[in-house]
Subunit: 161 residues, 2 copies
DNA sequence: TTGGAAAGTCAATAATGCTGACTTATATTG
DNA sequence: CAATATAAGTCAGCATTATTGACTTTCCAA
């Protein structure tokens, strides 16, 4: 036996009730909706959508990323990503260079113009995150990160810093 | 002046750096993808998608909810929701009853069959959340909730318990 | 030199969202 | 009571993002 009473044990596990889990599910839904709303708003003025934002974000964060790595991160099909990427390359927001080690690969990077749009979108999103972090405090943020890391598929962690 | 040195102040605010915010943004993206993947997998075997899941979830959680309240929660247009809802009513997963107070309103509830599908989807999603909560512990979960509540649009909090 | 990997493309289809215009039923207000 | 407003539902058209399947080009590596 442990030093805990049955009552104490039960109390310790209250955060695992179905009701608490359902509330967490709803929090994920509402938070994600808010999380995407600011960039989406900006993108109203463009011919681009959320998929373009995601591509810009991960190219910015991973300079010279290959197409196949980007495919793995985004979890969409080659055809789906290609449509988005083609637009961005044609519009000169993204540069696609033949790989040096392996000439079959393409290394993606943002052009000046791409960096500018990415920055606008990112700034809007970071503003909301910054306010939320600030209001919640560092310990809450640590908990936030821990739970999200446990929700995501483990093999995707290699794409985090 | 506070009792903190400048170095201590700087350290306290490290969780607000752009890099930390960007990592949080990526965590949201990866976690949300995992969060939706299990129900999406189940829905492969149906003619329903994520939008149907969301409707089933919130009708289950808010018995006798009206269409306009559901519209507010989901944040989509009447036409968009109606397509989904019509299917669910025709297929007898959802019951739409004329309101008692106000006969213009419709009160939505799940049929037996609707409850069964909702349960399957919910169980898959709760399983992942439960594992994440358990691994992270109650304090982390509290932080997770606090941050998500600060990310979401404040007026949506009325739809949480 | 052959087999496979990386990238790109074409075509068809599906799910989910939007705007705009309109109807029906019912409640509320002047 | 008559006028107005609200709740729901519908039709049509279109955009975005995703899918599967089939195929080509280029190039690395065994």
């Amino acid at each position: 036996m442990t030093r805990h009473s049955n009552a104490a044990k039960a109390e310790n596990l209250l955060f695992l009730t179905d009701d608490q889990l359902l509330q967490g599910i709803e929090l994920m839904f509402f938070a994600y909706k808010g999380f995407t709303s600011d960039p989406d708003q900006i993108l109203q003025n463009y011919t681009y959508g959320r998929a373009h934002h995601r591509a810009l974000h991960f190219i910015q964060r991973n300079p010279d990323i290959t197409v196949s790595t980007l495919l793995d991160i985004l979890g969409v099909t080659k055809q789906s990503l290609n449509r988005v990427l083609r637009q961005l390359v044609i519009d000169k927001l993204v540069d696609s260079k033949i790989g040096k080690r392996d000439r079959r690969e393409r290394n993606l990077q943002l052009t000046q113009e791409g960096q500018e749009l990415e920055r606008r979108l990112s700034e809007a999103q970071r503003k909301r995150m910054r306010a939320a972090y600030k209001a919640a405090g560092p310990d809450a943020v640590q908990g936030f990160r821990t739970v999200l890391q446990n929700i995501m598929d483990p093999q995707m962690k290699i794409h985090l810093d």
